[in-house]
Structures are given as C-alpha cells and as structure tokens.
C-alpha cells in the first residue's frame, strides 16, 4: 500500500508537469466548449426535446475517442521504450501496485478534465440564466452526466492502460485505445438503436444487450436513475482490463 501511495503521488506529479496532459486538456476543453456552444445555438433557434447540457453529454464519445487515448498512451509504452519500467520492477513494488497507480492517476486526470468542463455551463448560467429557470444548466443533469462519464471512465481508462501495456510505441498504444473505445461505443450505440427486441432469432441477445446500452446508461444517470447493473459492468470491465494489464507487464518483462 505504501508503494501504491508513493507511485500514485509520483504519477500525479508527472501528469501535472507533463506537457502532454496540458495539451490534452486544451484539446478536451476546446472540443467540449465547441460542442456546448453548438448545443446552445441549436436550442436557441428552436425548442428542443433536450437541454443544452444533455445534448453536450450525449456527445461524450467525441472527447472519449479524441482525448483519452492521448492521456493513457504513454503510461506504459513510453516507460517500456525508455527502459525505466524494468528499473521500476527491480524495486519491491509489485506490478499490480504499478498498474493501479498509473490507472488511478489517469482516471483522476480524466475526472479533472470533466470537472473543468463544468465551467462552461456555469458561465452560460451566470451570463444568460434567469432565477428559477434551470434549463440552461440543470444541476441534476450535470451531476448525473458527470457521474456517468466518471463511472464509465473506469472501464475506458483501464482499456487505455491495457493497450499501453501491449506495445513500446505510444502512437500504436493510442491507436489501439481508439479502436477499442470506438468498438465499445459503437456496440453500445448499436444496442440502443437496433430493434433487437423484435428479432426473435436474437432472443438470447436481449438480456446481455440490455446491459451494454451505453447511451441508455447516460440517460439513466442524467435522469437520476442509479442502476447497479452499469456500475457492475464498468467496474468488472475495469478489473478485467487491469488484471490483463498486470499479466501483460509481467509477461513482457
């Protein structure tokens, strides 16, 4: 545990001082600022069935695919390329402690990015909002959406860490993460939009598909419904990915 705390503090410090983190943060905020601006614009032109914040969160996959791979790509790939991972493994710190420290540091950074995004709805509300009207930045929707990206982020960041363990090239790690996250989001989106219930020959898929509806999870969270099934899905996926990451690091060294 002491090693884990030491490694986590080191990883957080490295993340704060890294130019890569700040560049990723700039890209994230630019993307989210743009998305939120266009959502506001859309809502100002004609009445919409969703609030600007809801519309912004529905595009969570855009920063997920563009920014998260940049955050996690260097975690192991760069250390393996430079050889510093071998040096780290000569200490009594366990591989699991190293993997968990890197994961948690990346997840906290991802969480900090999303918390920083909250500044946009706050500015909009402060400049354009009226007392009693919460349509511009409904706190419940904001909180629910944020909970969704943080909980689903457990799996997404763990996948990024796993991909980074598989190669010495940061660019390849980013590409692998992008492909995995694209696949996961696309499958989640497909489960939402495909009429699986009406296909009798796919009856066996109904139950598992119900668990994989990523956008359904977002709606549930934003609507204030706390269902334990997505929590189990994301936490189990995270544990599996990190377990595989530990095996990958131990196997390669």
């Amino acid at each position: 545990m002491r090693h884990f705390r030491t490694l986590l503090a080191h990883e957080l410090r490295t993340a704060v001082l890294s130019g890569n983190t700040w560049a990723s943060a700039a890209l994230f905020l630019a993307l989210m600022g743009g998305i939120h601006f266009f959502a506001l614009l859309e809502c100002s032109r004609a009445p919409q069935p969703w609030t600007p914040v809801e519309a912004t969160f529905r595009l969570f996959w855009l920063p997920l695919l563009c920014v998260l791979p940049l955050l996690t790509m260097r975690s192991f790939a760069e250390e393996r390329r430079s050889g510093t991972l071998s040096a780290l493994l000569t200490t009594p710190a366990s591989t699991a402690a190293i993997v968990w420290a890197k994961f948690l540091a990346a997840w906290l950074t991802w969480a900090a990015f999303w918390c920083a995004f909250l500044i946009f709805p706050w500015i909009v509300n402060a400049r354009l909002g009226t007392a009693g009207d919460q349509r511009l930045s409904d706190p419940a929707t904001l909180f629910g959406g944020l909970c969704f990206v943080l909980v689903s982020g457990l799996l997404h960041v763990a996948l990024g860490i796993l991909c980074s363990c598989l190669t010495r090239s940061s660019a390849l790690a980013a590409l692998l993460t992008f492909i995995c996250l694209l696949g996961l989001t696309a499958v989640g989106g497909a489960m939402d939009s495909l009429p699986i219930e009406s296909w009798s020959w796919l009856g066996w898929l109904r139950e598992p598909a119900a668990h994989l509806r990523t956008f359904g999870h977002l709606q549930d969270f934003a609507g204030g419904i706390l269902d334990s099934r997505p929590l189990v899905l994301y936490v189990t996926g995270m544990m599996l990915s990190l377990g595989l990451a530990v095996l990958a690091v131990e196997g390669q060294e």
């Binding site: 002491r2 493994l89 000569t90």
Partner: protein, 329 residues
C-alpha cells in the same frame, strides 16, 4: 534471542540456471555463487548470456529452469523479499529524463522501503558518496552527462544499503577519470555488500574483483580467484630472452635447467641480437633460476623478463575451452 537474520553462505546463488527463448538457449546449467561482502566480476564475450543471467537474478525476467536466490531467498518464489536484499543497475542505466536527481533518488528510496524518517539522510549520503551533491543534485537527469547518469544509477543501487548489488556494465561509456572514481567506489563496498559486476574492461575487473565468473555461449567455463585461474588455465610460464647466442645454445642451457623447457624460434632485432620466447612449466623450479643459469653460463644477454599473464589471458584461455572442461575444473 537476536533479531538479526543469520548470514547465508552465499549472497547470490545460481543453481543450474537455464533460460531458453524458443529453440535458442541463452544460458544453460549455470551454477555459481557470490559470498557475502565479495566483489565478483561476471565476464563473457558479447552474447554469452551475462545480461540475461543478471536480469534473472534481479527478478525482472523469469528463468526457464534452475534456481536463483538472493541472500537465501528464492527470486522466483519470493521476488518482493529477494528485491529487498538486492539492487540492480541494468545495462545502459535507464533513468527518467524529466526528474531532478534528488527527486528521483527520494522516489527510489521510498519504493525501496527506506524508513520514511531516514530517506533524506540516505539520499544525501549516497549523493555525497557518488560525488553528485555539488554538480548534479538539483539538475534534471535528462541534462546530465553519461558519467553523472552512471553515478545516479550507482547511487540508486546503494540507497537502501542492500546486501547484494548487481551492476551490468557500470563503467560503459565513461572517461578514464570517471572509471577511476567508479572503481574506487566499488572497491569501497568490499566487505559491506556482495557485488556482482559485468564488464568488458578486464583490467578494471582484475583491479576491483576478488573472484571472476566466466561464461561463454551461455555456459560456465571458469570461476574462481584470478591467481587460481591463472594456475589452472595457464600452466606455463613464458620468458622473453634477448641474446646474441644461437637458438641451439639457448635450448641446451634451458633444457639442462628444465627438461620440459621449449624455445620458440627467435626474431632478429638489431646488431645481432635476437629475441626468443622460452616456455617453462609454471611449477618448474627453473622459473626462479633461469636468469642466473643463463648469466653464469656467460651468455651474451641484454634482456630477460617473465611475461605477466593478466585477466585478459585468463579470459581468452577460458573462453577457448569447452564448457565441459570448465565444469570438470
């Protein structure tokens, strides 16, 4: 009852260590040991399996079969405990470029279980020992010269006062001044911790090490103290003799002193002087009296000198023989 754990017979022990990559055998049946406090040179030609062995001993790579233990603890069965007794500086000494020397050493001290209250003192001590305090402590590692980077690697290895230090090519790429500094530092560790060093600079190993282990093509070919290996691997004593006498005269005098003596064909130098090489068995009493014998016979003699066999000669002789011969010895 004492809390101090008993000192094991071997600080480092490799028993029938084997590592295979598919059909390629990197090391096979490697058995050697390093006693506590001993400084041992680990030698072998490029590709002999030195780095592989060191990586297995340090717990960063698993062997295919055999047993490696550090301070009596199996590296495979209890890696965390084995790593507590050991420090390893890999070849090329990889270091994070974006940390300052002092920050890096503090981080490593905490990871190596140095008591929280003693971290500062230990970091300051090793920086002092490795001459890092004045010129490098506050600098980014990425800005350091090769010599200072090696010093940082060695400082890291000494941080937790381990029982065993494994250094893979610690002086590679250093200038002669820096090599001297590192050599003195390693020499100062004798008696305090067991040190296993791989190096291509045989002269340096000879000066620093109590014992050498020589491997070739993944197999042990010789191990022991330099003097013992010299006797074992180089059973002859060679003399350079520069004289005006003929080869026949010289052969007659040498075989009278030692029947097994041989004289190799001479090389003419200048003004009628010829350089011969006389070879005697290393244990022959004539080795002590050859100069007196030649002088008392009135031989016109300008020079006589016994050839000194260094570690280089031992290394060449050891790596020429087969692993089976090495095991028999």
């Amino acid at each position: 009852m004492s809390d101090v754990a008993p000192q094991p017979e071997a600080a480092v022990a490799a028993e029938r260590l084997t590592k295979r990559y598919g059909s390629l055998t990197a090391i096979e049946d490697l058995t050697f040991s390093v006693a506590p406090g001993e400084v041992v040179g680990f030698l072998g030609p490029n590709g002999a399996g030195k780095s592989t062995t060191m990586r297995i001993l340090s717990g960063t790579m698993a062997g295919t079969s055999g047993c490696a233990s550090i301070w009596g603890v199996s590296v495979a069965l209890n890696p965390a405990e084995a790593k507590r007794h050991m420090a390893y500086m890999p070849e090329n000494n990889p270091l994070p470029e974006d940390l300052r020397v002092e920050e890096y050493l503090r981080l490593r001290a905490r990871l190596k279980d140095v008591d929280a209250g003693k971290v500062d003192a230990r970091v300051n001590q090793v920086m002092e020992d490795c001459d890092l305090v004045r010129r490098a402590s506050g600098r980014l590692i990425g800005q350091l010269s090769k010599g200072f980077r090696q010093r940082v690697g060695i400082a890291d290895a000494l941080l937790a006062q381990p029982k065993v230090v494994i250094l893979d090519e610690p002086t590679i790429g250093l200038d002669p001044h820096q090599i001297l500094g590192i050599r003195d530092l390693i020499r100062s560790l004798r008696g305090q911790m067991a040190v296993l060093i791989s190096s291509h600079i045989l002269h340096e190993v000879e000066q620093v090490c109590d014992k050498v282990v020589i491997i070739n093509r993944g197999r042990l070919v010789a191990q022991g103290r330099t003097d013992d290996l010299r006797r074992e691997l180089l059973p002859h004593a060679g003399f350079t003799v520069v004289t005006k006498a003929s080869q026949a005269e010289l052969v007659a005098l040498c075989t009278a002193a030692e029947p097994a003596a041989t004289v190799e064909d001479g090389v003419a130098t200048d003004l009628g002087w010829t350089r011969y090489r006389v070879v005697l068995p290393a244990q022959s009493p004539a080795r002590e009296t050859l100069a007196t014998t030649l002088l008392s016979a009135g031989l016109p003699l300008r020079e006589i000198a016994e050839e000194r066999y260094g570690l280089e000669d031992i290394f060449l002789a050891a790596t020429r023989r087969t692993p089976a011969e090495g095991r028999r010895s």
